[in-house]
């Protein structure tokens, strides 16, 4: 990670400017790739074209700043935080900045394909450089007007000030600035001088949200559009044999029934009629594939863990030797179920496939990849395809996969009409791309009361932890260390789920260290800190985390949570974890109500580098922690003969407000570039709660969800 001092950058090839016909200056810019040589921003503001530029900044002749970006919001606050970076370096007052998402109005915005990542970590430098470049151009224009040297000028809140006290507002020099060459070397602010970064800014869409304005994919409508509700195979491994649509077609309002692949879509002018039509379809299903069961997965994963077929992802020293020489070996197994994403806004997508073009609109995290997959599916040129992004009612990884957009495209192509595919909650939960069921076996060798070896084995359905994770804690802290993975290929679709892999690995590992401390009769915090000591000064470049930063969050969490001094009847559990470039420590406070553990509070200490928008950041942190507590406590999802056993919230339990702990957040002050916050506070939460439950009830939990396994261990209430 690079420290930011006041580096110089050339952004010339990433930025282009124009003078707007109606007055003002327009800056078009790209974040991660140079602009095409011929690309120029339009002179007419209604002609913004996101083919050539990622985003635009308009500085009006009254000094007001508008940032136009096609990137919508998924719930992580980036739509607010990213413009703050531009405004900071541009040196304008935040209240004079407006953020406009490329409206879903094809007259104004012909194509909105988001370029690059939306993450604050990747945008940190390029966005600030863009703001700083624009500022420099305004200074240069004012200096030329005054006939002075630019170096004699400074800016303050949208005003250029010469050393002699002369002042010009940005709006007064936009015309001249637009005609200037994009300057080459730009100096960024010293973080000490930040005025916007680090201050609270409310969500830029809050007014629209609280008044119910159309924002989300499901709110999108066009003239002549049909709603499509789809009957899909009821179980993984099943295919359609035959079907009868007589009853469906008899429903008044059902317009069309379309079979595509193993699915059947019912089209109507309103969602309810399409749903009724779909429910009236009769289909017979066959299967030549395996119809899988949770019990079977359980056995397969256990066999994998006990078997010998592993891929080794990292091996330090020699674990076998360490285990052979041990006084004691501790071995524990941790188990997790599948989990559906359950975005609050069920999957949906709009498609209009015509001979000239293919227009797709909806909530998607991967517009470019989806465009190319649709091109392939429809055998069209990728240049015929446009993907417009709406605000998303949650993502959690599910909207990385464009399966729903592909369905919409296929149906629209056959129907030759614009359609919006809508998933019911049952559809959403049963056509998922789930967090796979995983088991971990962790073994440690103990010699002379010290951990000499650590062996982590993972068995998962479909896929394994990815490359960098084996280099997270405790890699580097234990001399003999090995990470092995094995997986079983299932026909149940699985994929990324908020904080992929670490969402459960963190529970296993942080429960394990807590138990090791108990076995060694050592202080739980000291055990963790001692391990970190060994990583300090490491020359191993693969190590992903910083032992100093992890140590710091642990110490602050101990301090802020009143660790060790809990009130009578309050039991605390500790957990600390690094993932997604962020270091986090959490302490859960649990009380017993009628002998049932209730999580009252979680103290969360986060080192995410510079905090751009504390108000938004805390929202992410609170959400991540509560989500982590909720899924660890209640999240359970199983299959029988390939069929998901839960389909809606009547049986699938999500955490609710009356079960929610208070989250108290503390940030570590930092001048290091910011890192993500959507994910890293979730993984440590489960272990903090499990460790607190151990303290409260003496029950050590190895399986999620806790609610189920606590009952199995000791009858409650």
């Amino acid at each position: 990670m690079k420290n930011i001092g006041s580096p110089s950058f050339s952004r010339r090839s990433f930025i282009r400017t124009s003078a707007l016909a109606g007055g003002g200056m327009l800056i078009g810019f790209n974040l991660f790739q140079a602009c095409k040589p011929e690309a120029t921003p339009p002179v007419d503001i209604s002609q913004l074209n996101f083919n050539d530029f990622n985003a635009f900044i308009k500085i009006a002749d009254n000094g007001m700043v508008t940032i136009f970006s096609p990137n919508p919001e998924i719930g992580q606050g980036v739509k607010t935080a990213m413009p703050m970076l531009i405004a900071e370096e541009l040196d304008v007052a935040w209240e004079n900045v407006h953020v406009v998402q490329g409206a879903l109005d094809t007259k104004n915005f012909t194509r909105q394909v988001a370029g690059g990542s939306q993450s604050i970590r990747q945008g940190w430098e390029p966005l600030r450089q863009t703001g700083a470049t624009a500022r420099q151009m305004l200074i240069n224009a004012a200096a030329a007007k005054w006939g002075v040297d630019s170096s004699e000028c400074k800016t303050e809140n949208g005003v250029i000030i010469h050393a002699n006290g002369d002042r010009l507002g940005y709006g007064e020099v936009v015309k001249e600035a637009a005609a200037l060459k994009v300057p080459e070397n730009i100096t960024l602010k010293d973080p000490k001088d930040f005025k916007i970064i680090g201050t609270d800014a409310s969500n830029v869409d809050v007014d629209k949200i609280i008044t119910g304005k159309p924002l989300f994919g499901l709110d999108y409508k066009e003239e002549g559009m049909m709603y499509a509700v789809v009957l899909r195979p009821p179980a993984f491994g099943k295919k359609i044999a035959d079907y009868d649509d007589t009853d469906a077609k008899a429903i008044s309002g059902v317009q069309e029934v379309i079979k595509f692949g193993d699915k059947i879509a019912v089209l109507a002018k309103d969602t309810w009629t399409a749903m009724k039509g779909r429910n009236a379809l009769k289909a017979n299903w066959t299967s030549d594939a395996k119809l899988e069961n949770t019990e079977e997965h359980d056995k397969i994963l256990t066999d994998l863990l006990n078997g010998k077929e592993f891929k080794t992802l990292r091996a330090d020293g020699d674990v076998n030797k360490a285990f052979a020489a041990a006084d004691k070996i501790v071995e524990r197994t941790y188990e997790s179920p599948f989990l559906p994403h359950n975005c609050m806004e069920p999957m949906n997508f709009f498609a209009d496939v015509s001979a000239e073009k293919v227009r797709l609109v909806g909530p998607i995290q991967t517009p470019e990849r989806t465009a190319s997959r649709v091109a392939e599916l429809l055998e069209r040129d990728v240049n015929d395809i446009s993907v417009e992004m709406t605000r998303m009612g949650g993502g959690f990884g599910r909207r990385l996969y464009g399966d729903f957009a592909l369905e919409a495209a296929e149906i629209s192509k056959i129907a030759q009409k614009p359609v919006q595919v809508i998933y019911s909650r049952e559809d959403d939960m049963s056509a998922g791309i789930y967090r796979p069921s995983i088991k971990y076996k962790i073994s440690a060798s103990i010699k002379d009361d010290k951990i000499t070896g650590y062996h982590l084995k993972e068995a998962s359905v479909n896929s394994n932890m990815y490359g960098l994770i084996p280099n997270f804690f405790p890699a580097g802290a234990i001399e003999n260390y090995q990470v092995d993975v094995a997986s079983y290929d299932s026909n149940i679709t699985t994929g990324a789920w908020r904080a992929p892999y670490t969402n459960f690995l963190s529970f296993a590992e942080q429960s394990f260290f807590d138990e090791i401390a108990e076995i060694l009769e050592e202080d739980r915090i000291k055990l963790r800190l001692d391990l970190l000591q060994k990583v300090k000064g490491t020359t191993d470049e693969r190590i992903q985390y910083s032992p100093e930063r992890l140590e710091k969050v642990i110490q602050v969490a101990v301090d802020k949570s009143g660790w060790g001094n809990a009130k009578e009847g309050v039991y605390q559990g500790f957990s600390a974890y690094y993932c997604h470039n962020t270091h986090v420590a959490e302490v859960a406070d649990v009380v017993l109500e009628n002998d049932i553990p209730v999580v009252k509070k979680v103290t969360c200490v986060v080192d995410c580098g510079i905090v751009v928008n504390p108000l938004g950041a805390k929202n992410q942190i609170e959400g991540g922690v509560i989500d982590g507590v909720g899924h660890a406590m209640y999240g359970d999802f199983s299959f029988k003969n390939g069929e998901p056993q839960d389909k809606n919230f009547n049986t699938y339990r999500l955490i609710r407000i009356n079960e929610t702990p208070e989250v108290e957040t503390h940030f570590i002050e930092s001048d290091i570039a910011p890192t993500g916050l959507g994910e890293p506070t979730l993984p440590p939460a489960g272990a903090a709660v499990a460790n607190a439950i151990k303290a409260a009830k003496g029950i050590r939990l190895y399986k999620q969800p806790f609610i189920k396994h606590m009952k199995a261990k000791a009858p409650l209430g």
Binding site: I210, L218, K276, M344, E345, M392, G623
Partner: protein, 153 residues
Amino acid sequence: MPIFDLKINGQSHAVDADQDTPLLWVLRDHLNMVGTKFGCGIGQCGACTVHVDGSATRSCLLKVSMVQDMEITTIEGISDNASHPVQQAWKEIDVPQCGYCQAGQIMSATAFLNQNTNPSKSDIRDAMSGNICRCASYNRIEKAVELAASKMS
């Protein structure tokens, strides 16, 4: 299809819909009032909450044929310009994450605070427990309801 006369946000609407159509879809698809959201369709999540004669009601379970002559209020109708104290509190506390559940949360909170002007924390947690927020903005919902209560009393 029969025509139903509905009174929504103080205005009359004649809706041509099948009689078993839930009010949710009448609002969203027939009347183009999309502030009311679909989350589960079975009364479990609260995303579709509206007021019917002042009570918070799940519009996904309410058939259009049952709400004639009743006063229906949706998120679009609780105030002009987001001026309702509950909306103000939501803004001040900066509650939303993805925002999808929030119209339903606001409608539940509004109906609740009309009945109970001085709620305790546990009253709030009980009253709001029918609304799921998948982003888990629950801490802020709790604070915003408290703040709104103080604004309304």
